[in-house]
C-alpha cells in the first residue's frame, strides 16, 4: 500500500497520557515504556485525529520525509 504524504510527529514534551492511542483509527501511535508516544510511520496516514485531541498539543502533522 502506498504511504500517505503526511504523518504525525510527536514533540519532545509528550506527557505519555495515551489519549492519542484511543483515537488513532490505524493503531499507528502508542506510548512506549510510559515515556512518550511513538508513531509507526508505516501505519500512520496523517489523518490528524491524534493531533486534534492531544491535551498537551505536542503532535504535529508533517510532510513525510521532513519528520525529525
Amino acid at each position: 500500500m502506498a504511504l500517505s504524504k503526511r504523518l504525525a510527529q510527536v514533540g519532545r514534551e509528550c506527557v505519555a497520557c495515551g489519549t492519542c492511542m484511543k483515537v488513532c483509527p490505524r493503531a499507528a501511535i502508542r506510548v512506549v515504556s510510559g515515556v512518550a508516544a511513538r508513531v509507526d510511520g508505516a501505519l500512520c496516514v496523517g489523518c490528524g485525529k491524534c493531533a486534534k485531541i492531544c491535551p498537551a498539543d505536542v503532535i504535529a502533522i508533517v510532510e513525510r520525509g521532513t519528520a525529525g
Binding site: Q9, V15, S33, G34, R38, G41, D57
Partner: protein, 207 residues
C-alpha cells in the same frame, strides 16, 4: 471499536464522589487512585493506568465532548518546570494534610471541613465519623479535599482547553512518567532527558 470493561471506569469516579458525599470515610478509597498508578509504573514500567484505567481521565474525556472549548492549552502547561513544580506543590500540600492527620492522632481536635483549592474551607458537619478514630476521619476530610481540588482544576482546564488537559499536569501522571523514564534509563540508557526527542518522533520504517 468494541468497548472493554475498563472503558467504564469513569463510573467508579462518579461513585467515589457520591459515596464520599454520603460518608466522608469513603474518601479513603481514593488511595487506590494513588497507589495503583505508582505500582503499575514501578512494577510494570508503563503508564497503562493513564491510558486505560484512569476513571477521572475518562470522565473528563466524556464531559469534554460537550463542555470543552477544545482549544490548545498554553505551552507552559506542558513544560517540565511547570509539571514538576506543580507536582512538588501538590506533594507539599499533601504533606501538610498528613501533618494535620498526625496532629489529630496526637490529640488535636478533629476539624470537620473539606479544604478546596488549598484555601476554601467547606463546612462538612453532616458527616458521621463517630465510628472511627478521629485521625482516620481527619485523613478522610483532608484526602477528599485533595481529590476535590484536583477534580475542580481538571474540570476548569477541561472547559478552557482540551478535554483531558488535566492529564498534562496531573501530579500522578508526572510522577509515573518520571518513574518510567528512570526505569528506561536504567535499563538501556534510552528515552529519558535529552534523548527523549528520539522516542516520540516518527522514526520507524515507512517515513
Amino acid at each position: 471499536m468494541k468497548k472493554k470493561w475498563y472503558d467504564y471506569l469513569w463510573i467508579g469516579e462518579l461513585l467515589y464522589w457520591t459515596l464520599g458525599l454520603c460518608n466522608i470515610l469513603f474518601a479513603w478509597l481514593g488511595m487506590l487512585f494513588f497507589t495503583i498508578p505508582l505500582l503499575v509504573a514501578l512494577i510494570g514500567g508503563s503508564k497503562a493506568y493513564c491510558h486505560r484505567y484512569c476513571g477521572r481521565g475518562q470522565l473528563l474525556g466524556l464531559l469534554g465532548k460537550k463542555l470543552s472549548r477544545n482549544a490548545p492549552p498554553p505551552k507552559f502547561l506542558r513544560s517540565r518546570w511547570f509539571r514538576y513544580g506543580f507536582l512538588a506543590f501538590f506533594m507539599v500540600m499533601f504533606g501538610l494534610m498528613l501533618r494535620g492527620t498526625w496532629m489529630v492522632f496526637t490529640g488535636a481536635p478533629l476539624r470537620q471541613t473539606v479544604t478546596l483549592l488549598w484555601v476554601f474551607k467547606l463546612p462538612w458537619q453532616w458527616a458521621e465519623v463517630d465510628m472511627v478514630a478521629p485521625w482516620i476521619a481527619q485523613f478522610a476530610f483532608g484526602f477528599y479535599g485533595v481529590m476535590m481540588t484536583s477534580t475542580v482544576l481538571g474540570l476548569a482546564t477541561m472547559a478552557l482547553f482540551r478535554p483531558r488537559s488535566w492529564c498534562v499536569y496531573c501530579p500522578m501522571g508526572t510522577m509515573t512518567q518520571g518513574i518510567c523514564m528512570l526505569k528506561q534509563k536504567k535499563e538501556d540508557g534510552g528515552c529519558g532527558g535529552e534523548s527523549q526527542k528520539h522516542c516520540g518522533a516518527a522514526e520507524n520504517s515507512g517515513q
